[in-house]
C-alpha cells in the first residue's frame, strides 16, 4: 500500500539532500516559514537535534532559540535573516546571539536566502550559520 499521498516540493527535497551532506550548519524552512529540517552540523550550535524538535512553525522557531543582538535585545522574526529573505525576497546576513536548547548562549552569524522558483514565488528559504570566533564576540 502507498504511504500518505503527500510530497514536499522538489526544491525542498533537494535542499534537504544537500544540507544533510554538508559540514556547515544549515536550516531549511518551507513556503510558510515552517522549519522542516536542520542538519547534523547545526545540532551542536542549536543545542538540540532535529529529531528532538521536529517541524516548528515560524512563530515557534523564531523564539525557540531566543535570538538577541549583542546588547541583549530580542530580534523579531521579521528582522532575522530568514525573515528578511521571506519578506523581501533577497539574501540577508546578520550576526546575533542565541541560547541553545542545551542552555548555552552562543554568538553566531547567519546568511539566509529565499528559494525562488519563479519571480515572486518562494517555496522556502535556507539559512547557513556558524559560531562567531570567541575573540570577535568578546570585542562586542
Amino acid at each position: 500500500m502507498a504511504e500518505a499521498h503527500t510530497q514536499r516540493n522538489l526544491i525542498l527535497i533537494l535542499a534537504r539532500d544537500l544540507a544533510s551532506r554538508l559540514a556547515t550548519p544549515v536550516f531549511v524552512v518551507d513556503h510558510e516559514g515552517t522549519l522542516v529540517y536542520f542538519n547534523e552540523a547545526a545540532e551542536p550550535v542549536l543545542g538540540r537535534t532535529y529529531a528532538e524538535t521536529g517541524e516548528l512553525r515560524a512563530g515557534e522557531w523564531a523564539t525557540e532559540w531566543t535570538p538577541t543582538d549583542d546588547e541583549g535585545r530580542l530580534i523579531p522574526l521579521e528582522d532575522l535573516p530568514l525573515g528578511v529573505a521571506f519578506r523581501e525576497g533577497r539574501a540577508s546576513h546578520l550576526p546575533f546571539r542565541i541560547v541553545g536548547g542545551d542552555g548555552v548562549a552562543r554568538a553566531i552569524e547567519a546568511t539566509a536566502f529565499p528559494l525562488l522558483i519563479r519571480e515572486g514565488e518562494i517555496v522556502g528559504a535556507i539559512a547557513v550559520f556558524w559560531e562567531r570566533p570567541a575573540e570577535e564576540t568578546a570585542k562586542r
Partner: protein, 280 residues
C-alpha cells in the same frame, strides 16, 4: 483510458536487430481518454509513427505533455504530422523554467541551423504552456505535473480518470541523495505522482553496476526503481527509458533482476515495449 507505448528507448533512438523486440524509438506514450480526448506523453521519435497512424482522422485538439527538453523527448515533434495541419488545436505542456517561457526554450529546435522551418511558420501554431503547479483537467482526466529529480527542469505526470491513475516518470533519479528504503515518503521525489498508480512507467535505464558509475546523470537503477515502486504502492511497474546500448537480451536480464528484487505484495514488473497497451 487506453495507454499505448510508441517509444520507450532512452537518450538516443536505437533501431536495429538488437532492439527489435522492445523497440528503438525514443519516449512517446498515448493516452486515449473515455471522452475521446487524446493525450500524448513526450515527443520522442515514437511520435512520428503515431502521427502516421492517426492519419487524417486525428482529433481536432491534441495535448502533448513534455517531461523535459532533452532531445530524446522532443526530437520527434517536428515530424508529427498533425503539427503541419492548420486546423489542429495543438497544446504543448512542459516543465516550467525559473527564467524562460517554454516556447522560447523549444524554439531553437525549430530554427536553423537545426531545422529549416521556424516555429512561427508551423501551420498548427502550437500553444506552449507551462504545466500548472496544481492538478488541472483535460477532457475527462485530471492531470498532475510535479518537478522531479533529473538534470534541468523536469516534470513527471499523473493522469487520473475514473479513479485509476497512470504515472509517467521516464527520466527520474529519486535515489540521488536519498536512501529510498528509509527516507520518509513525503521526501521522495515523484512519490505523490506514483502513489497507488495502477500503472507506473518509470525510468530503469541502468543496471546497478552501470548506475554506480553514472550517479547524477538523472536515471535509475533496477534496484532503485523496484524500491521506488514499492514505497509508492504502485500496482504495475513498467520499466521504461531503456538504455540505447542495451540489447533485447540485456533488457530481459534486467527484468529477471527486477523480479528477483520483488518482495511479496510488490508491483508486477514488465519491460516497456513499442506497441504495448494497457486499459485502465
Amino acid at each position: 483510458m487506453k495507454v499505448t507505448i510508441w517509444g520507450c528507448r532512452g537518450s538516443l533512438a536505437s533501431p536495429g536487430p538488437e532492439t527489435v523486440r522492445f523497440g528503438g524509438q525514443t519516449s512517446c506514450v498515448t493516452v486515449h481518454l473515455s471522452d475521446g480526448s487524446l493525450l500524448i506523453l513526450d515527443a520522442g521519435t515514437g511520435i512520428r509513427p503515431l502521427g502516421m497512424a492517426l492519419g487524417h482522422d486525428h482529433p481536432k485538439r491534441i495535448d502533448i505533455f513534455i517531461t523535459h527538453l532533452h532531445t530524446d523527448h522532443i526530437e520527434g515533434l517536428r515530424f508529427f504530422d498533425p503539427i503541419w495541419d492548420p486546423s489542429v488545436e495543438l497544446n504543448v505542456w512542459g516543465p516550467p523554467s525559473p527564467v524562460r517561457e517554454l516556447r522560447s526554450r523549444i524554439a531553437p529546435y525549430f530554427a536553423p541551423p537545426f531545422f529549416p522551418v521556424h516555429l512561427r511558420n508551423i501551420p498548427s501554431h502550437p500553444a506552449f504552456r507551462d504545466a500548472p503547479t496544481s492538478t488541472w483537467r483535460i477532457g475527462s482526466a485530471a492531470i498532475t505535473a510535479q518537478l522531479i529529480k533529473h538534470p534541468g527542469p523536469t516534470v513527471g505526470y499523473r493522469v487520473e480518470e475514473n479513479g485509476s491513475a497512470l504515472a509517467y516518470l521516464p527520466d527520474h533519479e529519486p535515489a540521488l541523495g536519498s536512501d529510498l528504503s528509509t527516507v520518509e515518503a513525503e521526501w521522495i521525489s515523484g512519490f505523490a505522482l506514483a502513489a497507488g498508480a495502477a500503472v507506473l512507467l518509470h525510468d530503469a535505464q541502468y543496471t546497478q553496476e552501470e548506475y554506480d558509475e553514472r550517479v547524477g546523470w538523472g536515471h535509475s537503477s533496477t534496484e532503485d526503481v523496484v524500491t521506488f515502486a514499492r514505497r509508492a504502492g504502485s500496482r504495475r511497474l513498467v520499466l521504461f527509458h531503456h538504455d540505447p546500448l542495451h540489447s533485447d537480451e540485456q533488457l530481459e536480464r534486467i527484468l529477471a533482476r527486477a523480479n528477483e528484487l520483488r518482495a511479496s505484495g510488490d508491483a508486477d514488473v514488465e519491460l516497456a515495449r513499442e506497441g504495448m497497451t494497457f486499459e485502465l
